[in-house]
């Protein structure tokens, strides 16, 4: 069945979105359960009291580089930081996105001017390209990378790119570009719980475990 662009747009906004969000939500819930239901043994050793050393502290602190590390891998830290922050800004502070969220859960907030978002998107796309280049050129990243790394990079890059092209009315007619953008987002949602992208959720648990174990010993990490 060949759709025209309007039919595609309607599909991705309707059944497509339902399917993707459904898989995403169920996937996230299942994966969280799969991981955290394994539990962990209680630590019977006597703790060392240390103010400020805790799982919560580590959740926040790990966003910044450890002492002495920034100079060892500036590209990873800087491009990685720019990418994450840029993505968050574009997703959460762009007016059409806020409208969508409002229609889903009834909450909204002020948007940033669209020229600003446009600039951030470009910066974020560039950061992603830098990260891709680094993944290819850095011997450790190259050594570690598998199909999943390239795949998830693409899954993350495409929504940004297609969204930007759509807003700018470039490459393809707006309706098609928009449909593609939403389709790319849906693909991202579907694969997120089942790939390394799931770190978006597990990072809190991982940092918390690490911080708690070290906090027990009195070391704020």
């Amino acid at each position: 069945m060949i759709m025209n662009e309007m039919q595609l747009l309607t599909w991705v906004r309707g059944p497509g979105l339902n399917l993707a969000v459904g898989i995403f939500v169920l996937g996230v819930l299942w994966r969280l359960f799969e991981i955290f239901s394994l539990g962990r043994k209680k630590d019977l050793s006597a703790p060392r009291a240390a103010p400020g050393a805790s799982g919560l502290r580590t959740i926040l602190r790990r966003t910044l580089p450890a002492e002495g590390m920034l100079k060892k891998a500036p590209v990873t830290y800087i491009a990685g930081g720019v990418f994450h922050i840029g993505l968050a800004i574009v997703v959460l502070l762009f007016a059409p996105h806020i409208k969508l969220i409002q229609s889903l859960i009834g909450v909204s907030w002020p948007a940033l001017p669209s020229q600003f978002i446009d600039l951030i998107t470009i910066v974020t796309l560039v950061a992603m390209l830098v990260l891709l280049a680094d993944r290819i050129m850095n011997p450790v990243k190259r050594f570690l990378s598998t199909f999943e790394d390239w795949f998830t990079w693409t899954l993350t890059f495409l929504p940004l790119l297609t969204g930007w092209l759509a807003v700018r009315h470039l490459l393809l007619p707006y309706t098609t570009m928009l449909a593609l953008h939403i389709l790319c987002v849906e693909l991202l949602l579907i694969f997120l719980p089942f790939t390394k992208l799931f770190h978006a959720f597990t990072v809190f648990g991982s940092r918390w475990f690490n911080g708690t174990v070290n906090g027990h010993k009195g070391v704020a990490v």
């Binding site: 799969e34 790990r62 011997p139 450790v140 597990t202």
Partner: protein
């Protein structure tokens, strides 16, 4: 699947918990752990990337504990873990990892990689893939009571020697003493002066102490090889001894991994909390200092720096006391770059120095310590771990660096004011 591989796989399945699952699922292949690991930074070989050292365990986790992984296994799309692979991984898990923990300190998603290596070693050792050097240590621990085969008569000989040298009696099996002092084979063999320093200090502060004839050995080869059953044997001897002698505190010697084994893993191995305190000797000295019990005179005048043993500082939480003690007896104490929590490993911990075939790698990894010393240019290096001392001396000798290494406890003891006769 061979019987030993089956055993290893079974053990690995048992040790995988929520933290480990969370860690594997959080890894985004950023490679930052490699930039923290001296075995990568000094060799440039990406195979030493810490998270890569866990690859067989990760696949096992996926195949056993995730729906997708199990599906992949069923349709034949997953690569099983084999004997050969575990054999190949021995170098990565033992020779090129000292359990120093820098990787865990830098991972941006919070992965506690050293924790995972420690658990992976359980499977490696159960499947017979631990290095010969550590296997021997583990065996001797069970049969002789000490990983290096040091028996009670040897300890008693050292005691007598120290008594003569320092003129202070060394108590053994004294019930009700406040402190029970543990030793590591390394000290008994290589640094008997350490025991003398303890005797001097205890006499100075007026605290009662004792050695224990059935539990003098602190070195825990079980910890290093990754065999919890073995680690438990050693810890339970210590617990029995401490409870029999009714001591308040057990002192772990200037040995990093002994402290980790006893202080942080001991209660979990025994399945119950301890009825006594466990402190590293540096913690004890730090406490004495804070209470004003240490009266010292004179200062070391040369330029000194401190090497933080990984298991004491980063992994043990004892970071400031050694600095306070240094300031008490040294006028010219300077910190090396990355000192304290992020200090670099000497390269010999975690059983690594018992692995003969790993010596070349260790010496290469030592270049990071070398560069720290070249930056800070000390006259002497002070540390608080018998193994670090030896590994540092060997590394310095290899690179023809004329730099003496001394122990902190001995240095403090040297400056104590002699009370009375």
């Amino acid at each position: 699947m061979s019987a030993s591989l089956e055993k290893g796989v079974r053990v690995l399945k048992e040790v995988i918990d929520a933290p480990i699952a969370s860690y594997f699922n959080s890894c985004v292949h950023c490679g930052l752990c490699a930039e923290a690991c001296l075995f990568y930074t000094e060799t440039g070989n990406p195979k030493y990337t810490p998270i890569h050292k866990l690859e067989p365990m990760r696949r096992l986790y996926e195949q056993e504990y995730t729906v997708l992984g199990r599906l992949k296994k069923v349709v034949g799309l997953s690569k099983p873990v084999t004997d050969a692979e575990l054999g190949e991984w021995q170098e990565l898990v033992y020779n090129s990892c000292t359990l120093c923990g820098r990787c865990s300190a830098v991972c941006p998603v919070g992965n506690d990689i050293v924790y995972m290596v420690r658990k992976f070693r359980e499977g490696m050792s159960a499947s017979g893939n631990a290095p010969e050097g550590i296997k021997g240590a583990a065996n001797r621990t069970i049969t002789i009571g000490s990983p290096m085969g040091v028996k009670l008569p040897a300890v008693k000989a050292q005691m007598k020697h120290v008594e003569k040298d320092f003129g202070i009696p060394i108590p053994m099996d004294v019930e009700g003493a406040e402190y029970m002092v543990m030793l590591s084979s390394m000290e008994i063999m290589n640094f008997p002066e350490y025991l003398g320093a303890i005797a001097k200090i205890m006499q100075h502060v007026g605290k009662t102490w004792t050695l224990c004839s059935t539990a003098f050995e602190a070195t825990n080869a079980g910890m290093q090889i990754g065999n919890s059953d073995l680690a438990r044997v050693i810890v339970s001897r210590i617990v029995e001894g401490a409870e029999k002698l009714k001591v308040k505190t057990v002192i772990s010697p200037e040995c990093g991994h002994a402290y980790t084994a006893l202080r942080w893993e001991g209660a979990n191995l025994m399945g119950r909390p301890f009825t006594f305190k466990v402190q590293h000797i540096i913690e004890v000295l730090g406490e004495f200092q804070e209470l004003g019990l240490l009266k010292t005179e004179g200062f070391e005048k040369d330029r000194l720096t401190f090497h933080d043993p990984c298991q004491l500082a980063r992994r043990g939480g004892v970071i400031q006391p050694q600095r306070n003690l240094m300031s008490m007896v040294a006028k010219n104490f300077v910190e090396m770059p990355d000192a304290g929590y992020m200090n670099w490993c000497c390269g010999g911990g975690g059983g690594a120095s018992a692995i003969e075939e790993g010596e070349e790698l260790r010496l290469e990894a030592f270049k990071v310590k070398k560069s720290q010393f070249e930056t800070v240019k000390p006259d002497r290096v002070v540390t608080a771990c018998a193994n670090c001392r030896i590994v540092l001396e060997e590394g310095l000798e290899h690179y023809q660096m004329d730099l003496p290494v001394v122990g902190l406890t001995e240095m403090v003891a040297d400056h104590l004011v002699e009370k009375g006769a």
